[in-house]
Subunit: 463 residues, 2 copies
């Protein structure tokens, strides 16, 4: 990266306080790269550099900084400078920053805005959290259907400066009702005297202010758009959402899904900045639930205590048996949760999945069962650790593995369907959740199979 | 969805073979919605509908169909129709389809293309799989720096029809070397007589044909672009990549990451269309590796067989103990793998993470240990299942839980760093992998703690 090489020069400019040269030097890079360079500076240098920069450049770089750095810099700025920064920020980025502040801080910053920007900021903040309203920018280009292409291009040149995107223009009626969207390519390719009416097809895709942010990801992906219009309950055009913001939402959503699947409540902030106790609490909740579930294994095993006392050798294979069930369950759950999430399979496909897993689980079970069986048989040729009935033990372990791997695959694949059917998030059937479920039932399978196989030998009833 | 309501009418049009009305009716919807409607048709209706449609509409809908449907329809088309379809398809979508076909099928389809399209298709297919070259479209708008805005708009109007995106235009020199990119907004906002030279800032972001598809996702996200230019080894502009294709790559990459973390090799196709034996093989590999690792638990427990024989009660808590370690390890691994993947934390942060996990793990361990301890103590008041030394058993289980949850958190959080340091994918430290590792070591911890606590009572050496 070019910027790393320049670091010593940049540092010198900061130290001598030469804002003009610094600003010129930084102008040669992308804001995203400058933001990364900022991340490598000490807190002091960072603050000094930021104060040396002028208005628009400062705002541009600020929008690319990570959230903790933004908060730090905000606190270091004079109120007037902070106000100017907030005033210049893109409305959607500003909402994202303001919504994370406490009530008091938010009010403080809102009051530093111009009357117009304050009204915009407040109106955006009044949409529900996690709604498309919080993601949108109220700056867009709207045109009327009787305009010609020439008129539209003129209008864009004069009024498009603040628009969040010029890749799409929106056709509205006299009451600002959305009636169509036109990609800029349709305008650019049309003869200059064509009217919008001639170009438009009344076929458009839009979001509603109250849609969830997550649902917006799906719409963007499905219709291959780079910007989508947002309408209120009266179909009035109130803003647009651009794909760069949706990409960030998608990344955040993927992180939350991964965390849920890993068996903890989703963190709302990055790992490194989540307060320790918040993180412990998010992890403890599920860990305790899983622990309480897992306590049933102790109860289940209580019933088999006599068998274990008679055949201690059985205890040696407990971890092997239950973890094999857990692992196969985790694999199956991963496949199905993800396939449901991206829409590759739907609720109605459960029967097909069941059949596939019945077969896959059986094959995988036979593979692991055979290895387990052979391990015990071969080991017993050289050692007496498994006792005189080692062959029967091998049969019991092998058969149990077949049954438990099959069982794990079925539970792991069906649980996501059940959860989705109940209206819950399929990702709740996390790897640890499936493993816990399979542990308890797996033990019962193991001891039942062992009792059948070893009834005549190791587990013979005393007279 | 509107289209569902229309299904009976659509079906009738298909059955009477009224292609014209069908085409008109479908024209009112987005291609993505029509593609979904196709998914609900029987194979026969699907084929019939597809044959009733005319050229461009057919191609447009085809591009939105899922891969298996595309293959089915291709096979059902006359060679000439299939050729026309391939000829009209966007070059990048065509590459994606062709690269999945076998050698013979691919050649067959390539031969049906026009000479020009065949050359394009072949040149794109010659880039490495998973490279940006396979993702790009050779259709873009290139301009020269001495052109005026008016000239550029004229040029776009005449030659932009086939361009994959008109959101960005690319500035090149006489040898087609890329010298800048300009968002269409910069052109639209500029006075018509300004020259490109005046607008451009020599500050651009580009991809190389040999970059990996995955790395393109990061560049798009970082620089907030909707299209990026692709250059060859001589910095010649050879194509562009648009964000819609990158979104698909990102979804695929997220699926592969989820699958790796779920403890299986990533599938290269959707769950439902992956052949059963391929899927079994992808799952069996890791399942067997984990199983072999887990066999060590049987070995480890072999060393404690005498302890178990003397204190069968200890066996009852084995699943509880090891699963608690596995679950806390899975949580920690999830957090760190994901934070590393999105760049929230870096390799050099490992010490901070270690400190955080030491503290979190200790707190979580104390929580679970206390519950475990109380469970045994309280239960023993009403039952004799844990024997006369139940209090010492409770102490042993409680202390073991503290140690194992702490241990699991540390292993789960540090393993991703170790793997990354070794140049491996951190996601390889999947939940099952961490759990297996913690199972083996956890048993040793459990029995060691138990021996210390119970030395004077349950595990007293016989004289």
């Amino acid at each position: 990266m070019l910027t790393k090489l320049m670091l010593p020069e940049i540092l010198e400019l900061i130290e001598v306080g030469d804002g003009e040269t610094l600003s010129e030097a930084l102008d040669m890079w992308q804001p995203a790269d400058i933001a990364e360079l900022f991340a490598d500076l000490s807190a002091e240098h960072e603050r000094a550099a930021f104060q040396l920069l002028h208005g628009p450049q400062r705002t541009l770089i600020f929008e690319y900084l990570d959230r903790p750095t933004q908060h730090k810099l905000l606190e270091s700025l004079e109120p007037a400078d902070a106000g100017a920064l907030f005033n210049d920020m893109a409305a959607d980025d500003r909402t994202a920053l303001l919504e994370e502040l406490g009530e008091a801080d938010r009010e403080k910053h809102l009051k530093t805005l111009s009357a117009q920007q304050e009204a915009i900021a407040r109106s955006l903040l009044q949409y529900p959290e996690e709604s498309v309203g919080r993601l949108m920018s109220p700056n867009f280009v709207a045109v009327r259907s009787n305009w010609t292409v020439e008129h539209v291009l003129d209008h864009v040149r004069r009024h498009g400066q603040d628009s969040e995107s010029l890749n799409v223009v929106y056709v509205v009626d006299h009451d600002l009702h959305l009636i169509d969207d036109l990609r800029i390519r349709q305008i650019l390719l049309a003869p200059v005297h064509a009217t919008i009416e001639q170009l438009r097809d009344a076929n458009y895709v839009s979001l509603s202010t109250t849609d969830s942010k997550r649902s917006a990801i799906e719409v963007f992906r499905r219709y291959d758009r780079t910007a989508l219009p947002v309408t209120d309950e009266n179909n009035k055009l109130v803003g647009i959402v651009t794909i760069d913001d949706v990409l960030d939402v998608a990344e955040q959503a993927a992180t939350e899904d991964a965390q849920k699947f890993g068996g903890l409540e989703a963190l709302s902030e990055p790992y490194a900045t989540t307060p320790l106790l918040t993180m412990v609490q998010k992890r403890a909740t599920w860990l305790v639930i899983l622990f309480l579930g897992e306590l049933l294994t102790a109860t289940a095993m209580g019933y088999f205590e006599h068998q274990i006392a008679k055949a201690v050798v059985l205890a040696l294979f407990i971890p092997l048996i239950i973890s094999s069930g857990g692992n196969s369950g985790s694999q199956a759950a991963t496949l199905i949760v993800r396939a449901l999430a991206v829409g590759e399979i739907r609720l109605r496909d459960w029967m097909n999945v069941f059949r596939r897993e019945l077969l896959s689980g059986a094959i995988l079970g036979v593979i692991l069962g055979s290895i387990g069986f052979l391990r015990i048989v071969i080991w017993s040729m050289f050692s007496n650790v498994y006792g005189e009935h080692s062959f029967q033990v091998a049969v019991a372990v092998g058969l149990s593995l077949v049954a438990i791997v099959l069982w794990g695959s079925l539970i792991g694949s069906m649980l996501p369907f059940v959860l989705k059917r109940l209206g819950l998030d399929p990702a709740t059937s996390s790897a640890p959740f499936v493993a816990t479920f399979v542990d308890v039932t797996g033990l019962v399978i193991y001891f039942s199979v062992s009792m059948m196989v070893l009834r005549g030998t190791l587990l013979k009833e005393m007279p």
